[in-house]
Symmetry: D2
Subunit: 354 residues, 4 copies
């Protein structure tokens, strides 16, 4: 299942070390002006080798649109696109082609498919998310027309955690540092920590928080298609994502109903909630407040220290993972979280009120 969405439908293809990554965006309304520079800027935020704390694989991630756009505008036809792979170094993987890397997808995909494209993880590589960011950029263009903005940021790396309340964050700060944390003092500590782990050949995980503003009340579906269910599915489909919550989430587990309920109040004649522990969602449907959610990412599985494992022949092996890797996937996951959120919301909005 390489398709996401029902109304804004994105289907992707391509492997880490294949010729290209690509995809088809279907369901994009006609007449939309495509800001190609914006799309490319979004890709730059996810691109490898963007800073000292990411992998140094040198990919430009230049997208080429192949269809669905005529004279700068969408036509309503499916939008096909490709992104070339220029710096794949498949030789790095030759010696581990028969060995299952711990906590990678090697073993499970082999079990599922009975075969394996070992070069850089093949289709299971997070490089696949470049295609998602491209489609997400188109979804953002749709949402922007409706006044909906999506801002994700790094809120925790290991023990380093943002301390300012989400309502007061200046999202313009997010892109001012390599870790994409909008609180500069915390960002500095996160970056130092990641550098230290890179030195050690180790890795660390963290949390991306995402805020959606401008979503009018009444978006979402009851029962199985709840807004939080759709967002959770989208987020948990991102490589290395291990957890999701929204609103006050797991931090509110000890709070009572009387402490957590969001009372309704009138503000300038509009019904709003006095607090936002619900994260902008009640009964699966948006209430007009900002939608907040968090996505947990585990540490990158590629670490430099020797690890015990098993090979394709059922023999115990010790593995040392070569290649170029991220010590922490979180900073590059920020635009991916935004892309998936954008596609989820574009999909729901294009579906109409049902």
């Amino acid at each position: 299942m390489n398709t996401f969405g029902r109304n804004f439908r994105f289907t992707s293809f391509g492997e880490s070390h294949g010729a290209v990554l690509g995809g088809i965006i279907d369901g994009c309304p006609a007449g939309l002006t495509v800001d190609f520079d914006f799309v490319q800027r979004e890709l730059a935020r996810r691109r490898p080798a963007q800073s000292a704390i990411t992998t140094q694989r040198a990919e430009k991630d230049k997208v080429t649109f192949l269809s669905g756009i005529f004279e700068g505008k969408t036509t309503g036809a499916p939008i096909g696109f490709i992104i070339e792979n220029n710096d794949a170094q498949s030789a790095d993987y030759e010696e581990i082609k028969n060995i299952f890397r711990p906590s990678h997808a090697d073993f499970t995909w082999y079990k599922k498919y009975g075969m394996r494209d070992f070069r850089g993880g093949g289709r299971s590589s997070a490089r696949e998310t470049a295609a998602r960011v491209t489609a997400g950029a188109l979804a953002k263009i749709i949402l922007a027309e409706k006044g909906i903005a999506i801002n994700a940021f790094t809120s925790q790396i290991g023990t380093y955690k943002i301390s300012i309340p989400i309502e007061t964050i200046d999202f313009a700060e997010t892109e001012t540092n390599d870790v994409r944390c909008p609180q500069p003092d915390v960002a500095a500590k996160m970056i130092d920590y990641i550098k230290q782990l890179k030195e050690e050949g180790d890795s660390i995980g963290g949390v991306v928080t995402c805020a959606v503003s401008g979503l009018c009340a009444g978006t979402g579906e009851p029962v199985f298609g709840k807004l939080q269910a759709r967002l959770a599915a989208a987020m948990m489909s991102i490589p290395a994502a291990h957890g999701f919550d929204y609103g006050i989430g797991f931090e509110g587990v000890t709070l009572k109903g009387s402490q957590q309920n969001d009372e309704f109040v009138l503000k300038n004649g509009k019904t709003v909630t006095a607090t936002n522990n619900s994260g902008g969602i009640q009964g699966g449907i948006s209430n007009g407040m900002s939608v907040y959610f968090r996505v947990l990412f585990k540490p990158a599985s590629s670490i430099a220290c020797p690890q015990q494992t098993v090979d394709i022949h059922g023999q115990a092996q010790t593995i040392n993972i070569a290649g170029r890797h991220d010590p922490c996937v979180v900073p590059r996951a920020v635009p991916v979280v935004e892309a998936m959120a954008a596609m989820t919301l574009a999909d729901m909005i294009l579906g109409g009120r049902k």
Copy 2:
């Protein structure tokens, strides 16, 4: 969207105070023996008025199958069923018919649909999950034939938290107490705490943990249909669910890759992982270990203390919620988590290896 799944497809209908709840299970293989007592026992675990710590609405939740079963066996035809509502007290809701209850679905559903079935929350009521448990029971019968078992339990209520490792839990303990916590001493404290909150007219949330055993390696789908994405969507569609993680999850946020990776080792000639921080899933596909995940539930929104809110006419109001409510939804959510997990897995397994 009141349909769940693509291969094992469940569509539900019915409101809290309507004539019946019901549903259609489509895609159930032919020739399956339906253990009607088992189905009814599953419903009894979710049923209101089952213990001193639940709502006292007296529903028998007796399911009537209407089709798809002939001489005790499934025929491959869709299985329609209904469950009667016998003890709806709609009068309780008459005086709040125009008032939006805080943190309930009243406001958002009104915004979406422009109208409202105010009686007991209508379609947004968690009573809808009785239909889910029925369908989940059928899914469990499918899974049982393949040696797959699903065991959920209450692992946290407020600050009370299970302390024994999941691998050593005796699931037979779960059903021995009203809160469905398999650690009896912790269960006792949880029950006392819930009783106290009931007394106070307040409510509390908690966490349900779920373990799936017997799932062979290779189940799941890459990219958008990852096993964790499907499970997350299923869980976050349950009323009051606010968070999801799997494996070590949020508790592992401070651990490094070298501390969290699951090394592969040989055990009786079989490739297994030495630890299970991955929760049995790598790259979106099962690795043959037990699948573990957690679901966070917020406190029930219906509390007895006066709350500020707004009515349908945009007027500020103070509300006191009457009616019969659960002080803590977690114990009754345990079978719902199992039902949703069972449907998710049955859906994936019936889809074949793709």
Copy 3:
């Protein structure tokens, strides 16, 4: 797959000799007034024992709505409904329980499911279409609000064929005779012929023609979701349907492009076509003219003469089919064609412009 549609989604259940037929209509917009008498009238058009030329099984086909309607209006919640089976005579089928009736679904369903509900054809019975007509009635209510009308009629029975051009037909005539042919003189011959065949224990097929008016230009989808592809799928899902064409269809096979193209002309400032050989559809999308299509129905397979066949044990058998059957399914198929057309169009219209 017992679900039809993506936006207006109808899922049905129930067998010919089970307790009930039923279904769930999901995606019906909120706030729609349900004219229950209209729904019942639609069912009366499909009902057995409605005239001398149909089966005499005495079913009232009274529909009971179970959810999704509050105070006479749809709420946006799924609409569950049931129709009781009152006059099933399962004993008629006891002696052929192990014999495959020629041109019936007995053999193929047995091959698919490995078992069989032999009573009246079980799920494969055309009695299942009562549920479709119920859902179609709701779809018609949606369409009526947009000025879209659907009128089907019997255009051919055996060699008896309507001769007046479709543009000049008075649809009010259709319901004035038992065969539902709007040309009275032809209707009379059709009825006589069907009565004669009934006498002989034989059966005959025919053609239902359907006209959709009021569909504005621009409805449909390109490529795989073409309006004619959706309509064809809907029609060919009706029991006994064996062919479909639209516009001039098979009758135009000898005409050249210069004879068949529909020139555009201006009429009261509106772009229309001078002829309508395209049946209102070009490139898969409606052009604003009436949409015309035909559905071929084969003769009913249940005939009274002895037939050679094979039983479940692989033994040759001679079968004489007892029970009450239609000598010609066409008159009762007319409302079913309309129902499927209505659901197809409601589904497309609710999907929005994509």
Copy 4:
């Protein structure tokens, strides 16, 4: 909706005069050997300029696979591919950019999307079917492994009609002539007729008949997913397709049940039907006999004679269509019918028995 199928899922993109056509095949099982020459041969059957009776647009239709294939075998990952457009002559369309060509998709697509890629019909062009044939070739590889063969051929052009019974046709004859009719004497007349119409600047339609052999009994789905419904939807999605029937179809409209029923008989211990008026399908499910169906194609809409029409500004115009066109689409539609049938069946078979 540019996606076809649920299990074997094909999504296409590209316009007639864009850079490329392309698509993604998702759900193809891993481990399949891809015969690239076979794929290319299939494309050659659909390619323009293949003979004197087709358009002379010179396209090589060379497919480039971009993903999902590793060392000559499918990996289970999505298969992306592109086909370059080399001989688009967009200037031909410049002067009719604001004029709606009669019986083309220009008007309806403009009404749907509010804009238009006028170059060669853009996305509505039948050039899009090159991508379908590519995906169909992969589907055929899947089916061939199960012994299923698909053979389509031209059975009628204008009044020229094949006269030998379908059971006795030698499919090896089909590709021996330009019109793809397996009866050489009829083929010769068809070719002469098409050449004459080409001379006249006119066009003609016809019928493609398709035979599927090797499909075991039990394939298909009841109710809405009937095999004939799926095939009809697939066929009616082909540009210019105007009708569909299966088995004896419209030709049997005057035959009685006693004349049309297919009696079951034993043949070498196997249950088969004595006749095959059902076209291998009963109750929506295959019965093990060959599946036969017909697809009607209308005359190509691009004809050289002057036609009345209307332009984008609502002004009456006379149009003379330049460019290179097929006088009869039927011969090139033969491989497209096969491709769509192959995808439909692969989709059903990969879905398992449900």
